[in-house]
Each structure stands twice: as structure tokens, then as C-alpha cells.
């Protein structure tokens, strides 16, 4: 689409939203249909596919035995990475990760990590010698906006199903599992997009492109937030931030039930 058409479309979206109207007739704080499934990959130690409208992402967990860091001899680790596959959008290019996927990966990672829902000590196999290193890798299959929330839900959904492989000494016994990883909480991220003077949740692609600021808020339970990230070259007033905090806690309560 040409630059000019984008500007016109943006103007239209902005004025519609001012009148409380979204392109697909949702309310400003309504999510698109959310579908969560788990038959993604038998080779994964845990996996999930999340569709948020037409946005489509998959997450898979793999546990690898490794040495602990010297300063945390009784703790394993988890790391989250998101790849924006060229498969998913004409906007994405294959190649090394750029700042967009790096920010997305790190924000999704912090949403899980800071909730303290995973006890890293439970990833210890033998203190000082062997721990589980968990990799949660996400791939975007189709990009229609709001990857932050979709990826966050997928990461948590995959972790909830994740099982530790069975070990024979330091080697994994292929296809056999010992126990499940336990999440003590279900962290949920909700992301607000500011489009003109309006703020919407679960923006689709055209809304996201029309927006100039984004605020992601992760909630570890119904009353507690655990992470935030503002992005974009726009701004939020302190009052808007307060409002978003309020809504995030409410909406994450709803979404948590899906998991």
C-alpha cells in the first residue's frame, strides 16, 4: 500500500475509534477470538499454538541438560526467543534477528521470568553439576497484529504442558519424560495500542500500523503486575497509564481462564 493510502487509512481508523468504532466492530477492549491448541510438535517437550484472530504463533519448549552458572549452582534457566519468520508476513525478512524481534523476545521473556511463576531451583538436577536449561522458541506463522499478547500466551501455554525428559546419567532418553514443570502462577500480558487519542486492546495489523505507541503490561495474578514495556514513538499521559493498569488487571483475569 502506498504511503498516501496509509495516511488516509490511518485518518479513517483514528476518527472511527474516536466514535468508539473498530473495523471489525469489536469494543475497544475486546479481544479477537482466541484459539489455543497443543498438537504442534511431538518432538517438543511442550508446545502450543495460539491464534488471536488471524495472528498465528507457535511455541515449543526444549530442555537441555547443562552446567549451572558458578554463582547460581542450584538453579537452571529458561530463555524465550521469538522469530519473525519471513513465512508470516511480507513485512518480515529472513536473516539475523533485528531490533523488533529482539524487543519482542525480551519483553515476552520478562513477562514470564518476572512473574516468578517458575522456580528455577526446581530445574536443578544435581547442584553445581547439572541443571535443566529450558528454551522456549516461538515462531510467528501469520502476522495480523498484537504479537506481544499472542506470543506471551503461547509461551505460557507451552510451558504449562512442558515435561522434563528422562535422563540416563547426563544423556536424555529420547521420547521419555520424568515430570511436568509446575507453574505457580499464570502470567498474562495485555497490550494497549494508542491510535490517535484512543487506546485499544488486541490491535489487528491495520490498527497496529496506525498506532504510534504501545504499552504491554504483564500480570502475574489477579492483583499483581510483574512487567511493563512502552514502545513506539508516541506517548501516554500518566492518566492513560493508570487506566491501562486498571484494564490490564481486569482483562488478564479473563484471559487467564483460557489457560
Amino acid at each position: 500500500m502506498s504511503e498516501i493510502l496509509w495516511e488516509l487509512q490511518t485518518d479513517r481508523i483514528v476518527s472511527d475509534l474516536k466514535a468508539g468504532k473498530r473495523l471489525d466492530n469489536r469494543g475497544l477492549n475486546d479481544y479477537r477470538k482466541i484459539e489455543i491448541s497443543h498438537d504442534v510438535s511431538e518432538n517438543a517437550d511442550g508446545c502450543a499454538r495460539v491464534k488471536l484472530g488471524k495472528t498465528d504463533v507457535i511455541a515449543g519448549v526444549k530442555f537441555v541438560p547443562g552446567e549451572p552458572y558458578p554463582d547460581m549452582p542450584d538453579e537452571g534457566s529458561i530463555s524465550v526467543g521469538v522469530e519473525l519468520l519471513a513465512l508470516a508476513s511480507p513485512d518480515f525478512e529472513s536473516g539475523p534477528p533485528r531490533e523488533n524481534s529482539i524487543e519482542l523476545s525480551r519483553v515476552v521473556d520478562r513477562g514470564v521470568r518476572e512473574s516468578k511463576s517458575i522456580d528455577f531451583k526446581k530445574l536443578c538436577i544435581k547442584e553445581g553439576e547439572l541443571v535443566w536449561i529450558g528454551f522456549v522458541d516461538l515462531y510467528v506463522l501469520n502476522y495480523d497484529g498484537n504479537l506481544f499478547d499472542a506470543c506471551s500466551i503461547a509461551a505460557v501455554a507451552a510451558l504449562k504442558k512442558a515435561r522434563f525428559p528422562k535422563l540416563d546419567g547426563k544423556k536424555i532418553v529420547k521420547g521419555e519424560y520424568s515430570s511436568e514443570i509446575k507453574l505457580s502462577k499464570i502470567p498474562i500480558m495485555t497490550t494497549f495500542y494508542k491510535v490517535g487519542s484512543s487506546i485499544v486492546m488486541d490491535a489487528n495489523l491495520v490498527e497496529e500500523k496506525a498506532s504510534n505507541a504501545r504499552l504491554s503490561i504483564s500480570c502475574s495474578d489477579d492483583k499483581t503486575m510483574c512487567a511493563m514495556q512502552k514502545g513506539g514513538n508516541g506517548s501516554f499521559t500518566p492518566e492513560e497509564v493508570s487506566k491501562c493498569v486498571e484494564l490490564a488487571l481486569e482483562k488478564s483475569k479473563e484471559l487467564r481462564k483460557l489457560l
Partner: protein, 278 residues
């Protein structure tokens, strides 16, 4: 158990997963799974699960490497980190780069590249689960995605692995069979309408006689894959008006292809799009 492992075909002629020696695993194809793409397909082939998307033809990037006479295919074969028993480094490895190259070349054979000079046709495949044969599955899926995108082709590309395990010549090896001590693995793909070989690789020790025999099995298996591809595309192009050209209709074209690598005249090609290939 140990003994069991070395029996690749039992006395009833059945393999470890209960298939016959010439039997391919179950194949399921869904079209149009990636709305953002020009064309797409999701394919399950036994445990293998693959997404394929096509973008383009678009202007070639970078422009100075474009071919002024034809389109170029950029094929990307990628594996999810969790698609294999041992976690794969997410960065594309040398194996993925080699496979991307040969699969892209296989597709270039069938696409009417001359119709889109200076462009690129991007074919992205992503393996999310695997169990032997992911490259032939990816190529099969990519071919369907190209048809879904309406890219004009001479023929669908149909692919299947064949080979040997425990002394038996078999089609569509699974991981267990691929790991046999005497395993031979032969990824094969043909232009389904003409049986011309566009992909052929081999690993493992095999005699000339065995090779010729197993190639025949492979050509038959590719035709079975072709039937699956046609079935799903027919469903999509159900209301298309044009007749599907029969194998006989394509024979002239075929001779041409074997004889001469020069671009065909455009007027000879104008009926070969999307559902026309079925």
C-alpha cells in the same frame, strides 16, 4: 528388543509402523493456512508437519542481482528448534542452506520463470515437527502453495523418499529405518506430469540393480503423492471452468523440456495455472 530393532520388515511383510514396503505414510494437506501470503499450505506427512508460504513474484532484492530475463526462486527450508529430538540451534545451518538450494532449483524447473523477468518468487517452508523425509514433504507442500498462489507451472512437483533398510528396498523411510546400519536414503522429486527428476540425492551403499529397482518404486510413490496434491487442489478449484490437461496432452511439452533448456514462447504456456495442473 535389540533383535526386534534389526527386523525392518517382518514375516508378514509389514514394517515397524505396520506399513507395507511400498506404502507411504498418511498425508494431509490444508490450503490457505497463512492469510498474509500469496499462497500457502500446511502438510502433515506421518509425524512431519510443515508450513509453506509463497510471496511474489515481487521485485528482486537487491536489484542489481536480479535476472533481467526471468524470475528467481528464493527457497527457504527452515526447521523449528523443537522439530527434532535434539534441540536445533535456531540459526539456519549448513544443512538447511544446502536443502534450500536444491529444493529451490527443483521448483525453478517447473515454474514459467520467463513470465516474470527481474522478479523473485519467495518460497518459505517451516518444519515444526519431523521424522525422516522432511525435505520431500517441504517440497511437496511448497508445490501446493505455489499452485495456491496462482504461479504458472509446467507441472506440480511431487516428492517422496525411497531407500533401503535391513536389506529391504522400501518407500518413504521413517526415522527408525533411516537409522538402520545399512540404510540408504534417496530423496526424490519429479514433475508429476512427466516423471522428469528434479530432485535426487542419495546416501548409503547400493548396487546399480537395487538403485534401478528402488527408483521405480519412487516414481510410483511420487504419483501417489501427486494424487493427494491434486485432490486438495481440486477441492479448492472445484468451480474452475477449465479442464485439467491429461498426461497425454503434456507429452509434447515434455519432449521439449528434455530437448532444450531455452525459454518456451509465452503463447505456448498460457493455460497452465493453478487448478489447470491437476
Amino acid at each position: 528388543m535389540k533383535e526386534e530393532e534389526n527386523v525392518y520388515v517382518n514375516k508378514h511383510g509389514k514394517r515397524i509402523d505396520n506399513r507395507g514396503i511400498d506404502e507411504i505414510r498418511e498425508i494431509k494437506i490444508t490450503i490457505g493456512v497463512i492469510p498474509e501470503a500469496s499462497g500457502s499450505a500446511y502438510l502433515e506427512w506421518g509425524q512431519n508437519k510443515i508450513y509453506a508460504a509463497v510471496y511474489g513474484p515481487n521485485e528482486f532484492v537487491p536489484k542489481h542481482s536480479s535476472d533481467p530475463l526471468r524470475a528467481q526462486v528464493k527457497f527457504n527450508y527452515r526447521m523449528a528448534s523443537f522439530s527434532v529430538p535434539d534441540r536445533k540451534n535456531p540459526k539456519p545451518g549448513r544443512r538447511e542452506i544446502e536443502i534450500s538450494k536444491v529444493l529451490g532449483e527443483a521448483l525453478e524447473r517447473t515454474i514459467f520463470l520467463e513470465r516474470f523477468p527481474g522478479t523473485q518468487i519467495e518460497v518459505e517452508t517451516h518444519i515444526v515437527d519431523s521424522n525422516a523425509g522432511s525435505r520431500v514433504a517441504a517440497l511437496t507442500a511448497a508445490s501446493v502453495a505455489l499452485a495456491d498462489a496462482g504461479i504458472p507451472m509446467r507441472s506440480l512437483i511431487s516428492a517422496c523418499g525411497v531407500g533401503k533398510a535391513g536389506g529391504h528396498l522400501i518407500v518413504d523411510l521413517n526415522k527408525h529405518e533411516e537409522d538402520a546400519p545399512d540404510a540408504v536414503d534417496i530423496p526424490l522429486a519429479v514433475m508429476a506430469n512427466s516423471n522428469e527428476v528434479v530432485l535426487l540425492q542419495m546416501d548409503g551403499l547400493i548396487s546399480k540393480e537395487e538403485f534401478n529397482e528402488v527408483m521405480q518404486k519412487g516414481l510410483t510413490a511420487c504419483q501417489q503423492v501427486y494424487e493427494k496434491q491434486k485432490a486438495v487442489l481440486k477441492e479448492k478449484f472445484l468451480d474452475a471452468e477449465k479442464e485439467v490437461p491429461s498426461k497425454e496432452d503434456l507429452s509434447e511439452e515434455k519432449n521439449d523440456l528434455n530437448g532444450n533448456s531455452k525459454p518456451e514462447a509465452p503463447e505456448a504456456m498460457d493455460s497452465m495455472q493453478g487448478g489447470d495442473l491437476l
